[in-house]
Symmetry: C2
Subunit: 470 residues, 2 copies
């Protein structure tokens, strides 16, 4: 561990103040999916802008290209040392269904060594931890061991629509050796893991229409088609009896797992029974011939994230609705292309749509291919050392079932790779009610983020030569 | 026509004032399905209470048994003459989706000889017309030719949950020869019809659950079952390839149409192409071997009136929801029992529900069997005469695809039959945005309601002897 003792002391002395700052950030309902929450999102950006300046970062600014603003800040006082972009996002998922929360979603509440709130885990905890570690170095040592560019995105949870434009415009500003993402997800709270791949994503919104207007179910039912029934029959064709996706062309380019990948999966401590029990679910859906980890990490999926139509309020309305709607996402693996997969789903839905209904597709944007870190990338060794030391045991190689669209985008626009050092754990209900973050992860995170900068410096800029643009 | 000339003159002189009163009633958003609208509903009841007293009705009162209040009023000054209960309802359907209205749903707006507003047709128009006719008789003649009991329900649109209790408690107060309902629906605005049957209804709300909480679709998709996909597959089993309902036992007790019923259908002016074109729909769904009218009037149906789950707001949320919901109603024909049909659907849904999901049924109440008027009931002749005269052509026998729960309830609790004299037409988008009522129906309705009371008196109480309790 290369962290000077003075920094560890500063961390201990400032922990409570930092926790308060973290809670202040979490209190802001910075949703990016709901335009009505835009003022709150901008309030969070403003808080971070001021905080970055206060802890001694330079060139603090908002990068904005027609979407939500990214907070940028840098410290470039280590010429010759590697440069790392620290990525995180300050926007959060919607809090609904709000009635299922045990404490108000935007009032961080401590229970059993955890902080409960929307965004408490995803991604405001590690975002804040990274800034605290930078503060500790700059306050105690007056410098960081390597160059740091802080990049805090504001629309990760809604598809990063303007991220490509920001990266394209500011690719010089963002020149670096690699990206260290504070966003990601650990498999177990007490097992250090290093994520080597994320699945991609493709999105689709579908509207099916059977009439020009809502009708009375007594006067038109049994004559005019019911769009909810029609859409249900179409959804029923999306998977086959084995639980595999039944959309023609969906699996084009998907490879069976290699022996090395299977060995990596086998090394991961993972109990399928506990996995289902932890979320009150039962196994049996989807490809039973494959392990759960293989399905989550190496196989693509197709999910209906939302479906609605007709009367959904209290009581009863005998309506025959004119429209039914659904939102679909698919998780992609290497070899699949978001646009081609979306096109395959559209073609399939068109092929099973009866003549008495019409389909309309709404572009959702934010598609992203899957991503894999090059197996010999030096950042993987840095994380092995830092995390192995903090947790006192060796790391395991894991993959993310979810998507970090930035991995593919950073590679495309900046030419560099992304590794993640997140302290959020998969059971922390991000994207669901009662999201929480563990206080012990807060402390481990501070230790790791303070330690990672000297490890990067120790690795040296030359080690990254083959992994960055000339 | 037995209407005295003085009454026709009074109608002409008061038409504009009456239209204003009708609009005042329509302006009140008296929804019964949404508890938040209860104060508005009660405001409508209060307006009607005062109006009944003002036009000279006696014993004016609210009948209330734990639900929404019924407005009751009577005029019993014709001893020996028949007694008719005039039924109507003052509650209305929800106005959503409100963004599809061309004028505010609770601001009655005149366009092209029509009044547009929620409740303008169903059922505030004929309700108001009936009261205007009573006013005309009492103001001009000082009396009505027969005894009249006005019964204005407040929860017809949400299932009439407390109607049985009201009828049970007040069956002496409501003793009468038959019910003349101002609620119903004409097939064509310019063809007089007499409704001889209504379909019944059974209701069900279903919740399907696959996990204890909402999950991240990237971390759990492909492992934990998606409740929207599971529910969709179950909905897909509700109908067979021919479009018939595929629930075992659903058709138990349903009879094929008789020769007389087929002749009645053939006499109805009905163009299937125009029927679909009028609502922007196409044929092809459901039992193609049967005519549309047969499907609407003589066959039971099963409709999903609402279905929802997951993220339904703007933008995108990569959630794997824990629950999916739907509301189902079925329209019943004679021979079917609401509880048995609901039980058959529950049993079917349980039988197709996979082991990794759980089903929960919520009792919706308000089930009602189908209803048929006895073929020789004297009220049918009364309507034939009154409507034939107003429209200048003979009436046709029609059925209602929808449900008037009161028909079965009145028979059960009061022992008398219900016929309808409504001037709402099936194309008037009740239960949908842009509901409207035709001003020419307003005038015809006034003429008919003024004429019906002397026709009832002329028929005489003895004619109803076989159709009321001794």
């Amino acid at each position: 561990m290369l962290t000077p003792a003075g920094i560890a002391g500063y961390v201990a002395a400032n922990r409570e103040r930092w926790l308060e700052g973290y809670k202040e950030l979490v209190r802001i309902p910075s949703l990016s999916a709901d335009p009505a929450r835009d003022p709150e999102l901008r309030r969070a950006a403003d808080l971070l802008l001021k905080h970055c300046a206060a802890i001694g970062l330079a060139n603090v600014q908002l990068l904005e290209e027609g979407g939500k603003p990214t907070v940028y800040a840098e410290w470039l006082g280590a010429p010759g040392a590697p440069t790392v972009v620290v990525y995180a996002h300050y926007d959060v998922q919607p809090e609904d269904p709000v009635e299922l929360w045990h404490s108000p979603p935007f009032e961080p509440t401590e229970r059993n060594g955890r902080i409960y709130a929307r965004g408490a885990s995803d991604d405001k905890a590690t975002l804040w931890i990274a800034l605290c570690a930078i503060e500790a170095w700059l306050r105690v040592e007056g410098s960081l061991p390597c160059n740091v560019k802080v990049f805090l995105e504001g629309e990760e949870e809604s598809g990063s629509a303007s991220l490509p434009a920001i990266l394209q415009k500011h690719h010089e500003l963002l020149r670096a050796d690699f990206i260290l993402s504070a966003d990601g997800g650990m498999l177990h709270a007490d097992t250090p893991d290093v994520m080597v791949a994320t699945r991609g994503i493709a999105k689709l919104e579908v509207t099916l229409r059977t009439a020009a207007k809502d009708l009375h179910s007594g006067s038109f039912g049994g004559a005019v088609a019911n769009p909810l029934a029609v859409l249900s029959r179409m959804v029923a064709t999306l998977h086959d009896m084995s639980g595999a996706v039944a959309v023609p062309g969906f699996y084009d380019g998907v490879r069976e797992p290699t022996a090395e990948q299977k060995a990596e999966l086998a090394a991961v401590p993972f109990n399928e029974g506990e996995f289902f029990a932890a979320v009150g679910a039962r196994p049996g859906a989807y490809e039973q011939s494959r392990s759960v980890l293989e399905r989550l990490w190496l196989r693509p999926t197709l999910e209906v994230n939302g479906m609605w139509g007709g009367w959904t309020g209290p009581g009863n309305k005998t309506v025959l609705p004119a429209e039914a709607h659904m939102k679909i996402t698919t998780r992609l693996v290497p070899g699949q292309h978001p646009e081609r997969v979306a096109d395959a789903i559209k073609a399939h839905l068109r092929s099973v749509c009866p003549a008495y209904a019409t389909l309309e597709f709404k572009a959702m944007g934010g598609g992203s291919p899957a991503y894999e870190v090059p197996p010999a990338h030096p950042a993987l060794n840095i994380l092995d050392r830092v995390l192995g030391d903090v947790y006192g045991k060796p790391t395991v190689r894991v993959r993310l079932g979810g998507t970090l669209p930035l991995c593919a985008l950073m590679k495309q626009f900046l030419g560099i790779d992304t590794v993640a050092m997140s302290f959020s754990t998969g059971d922390e209900d991000y994207h669901a009610p009662n999201e929480f973050f563990r206080l012990r992860s807060f402390d481990r995170g501070l230790k790791a983020w303070c330690a990672v900068f000297p490890e990067i410096a120790e690795t040296g800029a030359d080690a990254f030569a083959g992994y960055r643009p000339a």
